[in-house]
Amino acid sequence: MIRLAYKNILFRKMRAILTVVGIASSIMLAVLMSAVMTGTERTFKDSIGNMGGMIRIQPKSDALSGTSIDTLPGGLVLTKASVDEVFSKATGYDPAASAAVLSQVLVAPSAPNNPPRMVLSGIAPGKEGAVLTGAPAESGESKLTGEYDVILGFSAHQQLSETAGRTLAVGDSVTLPGAPGQWVIKGILKARDAYTDASVVVPLATAQTSLKRGDGVSYVTLSYPVDKAEAAAEELKSTLPDVDVVTTGAMLQSVNKALTAQRQFMALIKGAVYATAVAIIFMVMYTSVMERTKEIGTMRAVGASRATVVGGVLVEAAVFSLLGAVIGITITWFLTASWRSGGGFITPKEYTVDAIKTMGTALLIALISALYPSLRAARVNPLEALRYE
């Protein structure tokens, strides 16, 4: 059965090649969709996950519900009085990892619902941990000492180097878009997650002057043990009614909401792609069975059972599908090499898991779409087929 299917494929090479190319194209698109979704979800979850038991206190606004703090208009800040009130009423937090932060998007996201590409975080020297959450430095150090010191996240450093036309190093002067001043690079961080990588950390006072925010900050971040964060947040909500208290869990929920529309869109595209693959295989196998009515009749006449005929058609469809899947996945592997390099958008393991799932789906598609043609082939009456011209 397998040998017959293989011989038939070789005998009709052009048809086989075109079928495999069609399947490969569909699979490439499906794998790309999966990779984008997997990468996007992991990026957001990693970024928020690294915040552990962090609580954010930010200006209250109904219009801001579910909005990332990094896209706040410049006018919405917490005043010094509000900040002092927060620190006086909050208890049980880790002072070394808690601080007031002035946040400003310097380079907007490349697509809706993606993280910003560069975010300035102004923070008091000695409190860098509240923003960097333990991210290690590739070079230099992750401590602010000078007035115009700046610590760059991995991708922020890459972007600024590209703008400067050379690879920036610790000690170099750098211009930050939208933040006037002659900044000096104090440290460059290793690749970690989308938010940390996009970070540009500077002293709070200098940021307030540069961005003309007076004594205002964007939010206060408080660090709690993970198991105590929710309870602490509930307490703060009751004692600080004039501000929004957001936990990591709540942030995850709002990210989830934002991602839902993207997920649905991707699922729609993937569905359309798989439907195309089904149509291709169905048409090819149906046409093949119709062309080979006499041949199938002969095989039945000389002893092939219905099961043999069905099996032959299904095997042929499975070969097309798997071959197309392997080619599509391999090409996509090379096309997405940059996505997987150096703390990239998607890990090799994630890509492999997506690829295996897609391969399994491709096989299922083959079997489903070839089922009707194979059953039709099995119903060929040898007598009628032998009269067929």
């Binding site: 040998r3 017959l4 011989k7 038939n8 070789l10 005998f11 009709r12 006499k294 041949e295 009749g297 002969t298 095989m299 039945r300 006449a301 000389v302 002893g303 092939a304 059972s305 219905r306 043999t308 040898p382 007598l383 032998l386």
Partner: protein
């Protein structure tokens, strides 16, 4: 046996009006008749590709007319060899692969054993040197010889040939009939259907089929008009 085809609610076509036929082992039977006389219908029934509407079809004493498709396929694959007018070889397979097909379908022997037997049969029909060629690379006569070799793969008890020379010139057709005579001389039971009396004359027993009725032909009656 009778075979009736219903056309619409009231019309019926009797392909076989009432046929009594016994094929002894080792016989070479020809059934001669004009086109539409019912001879191919009878042959297909003998090959368990069709069953009678009325009457009994017995094979080695067993009633086979009422068997399921799967059972008929099984009997057909093991005990019946077919030779068709239009050869009906699988275009994507080489000559030896076509010959080995019936054995492959019943899972007989290993792949190597099947190949060896296929080459043996091709040698017997004089085509061992063309074993690796596809049907498109063979002449009509060569294809028919491959088809005959294929029909013998599973050592069938009965070989059925439906107009085996119908698509061949007279010289090649004559060679094919010679081959069949040789096989019969070695003990193969053959039933051949033809419209050509000269072909039929080379068998041991001849029947004439006319309007769905079968009659044994005796000496002197052979070339009588239908």
């Amino acid at each position: 046996m009778k075979k009736v085809y219903r056309m619409g609610r009231s019309e019926a076509f009797y392909a076989l009006q009432g046929v009594d036929l016994v094929v002894p082992e080792g016989d070479f039977v020809s059934i001669i008749g004009a086109s539409g006389s019912g001879k191919s219908t009878l042959l297909h029934m003998l090959g368990f590709m069709d069953s009678p509407t009325e009457g009994d079809l017995l094979y080695e004493g067993r009633q086979v007319g009422r068997l399921s498709d799967a059972e008929m396929t099984r009997v057909r694959s093991r005990d019946i060899g077919f030779v068709f007018q239009t050869f009906n070889l699988v275009a994507s397979l080489t000559a030896w692969e076509n010959v080995a097909l019936p054995a492959e379908f019943i899972g007989a022997g290993t792949a190597r054993q099947r190949r060896e037997r296929a080459l043996e049969l091709l040698d017997m029909v004089g085509l061992k040197d063309r074993a690796g060629h596809k049907p498109s690379e063979l002449s009509g006569g060569q294809r028919q010889r491959v088809a005959i070799a294929r029909s013998l793969m599973n050592r069938p008890k009965l070989l059925l040939a439906d107009e085996p020379t119908g698509n061949l010139d007279s010289t090649t057709g004559g060679q094919i009939v010679e081959l069949l005579q040789k096989l019969n001389a070695e003990g193969q039971t053959i039933v051949l259907v033809t419209h050509n009396p000269e072909i039929a004359a080379r068998s041991k027993t001849v029947y004439r089929m006319k309007d769905g009725l079968l009659r044994r032909v005796v000496a002197g009656d052979f070339f009588a008009a239908d």
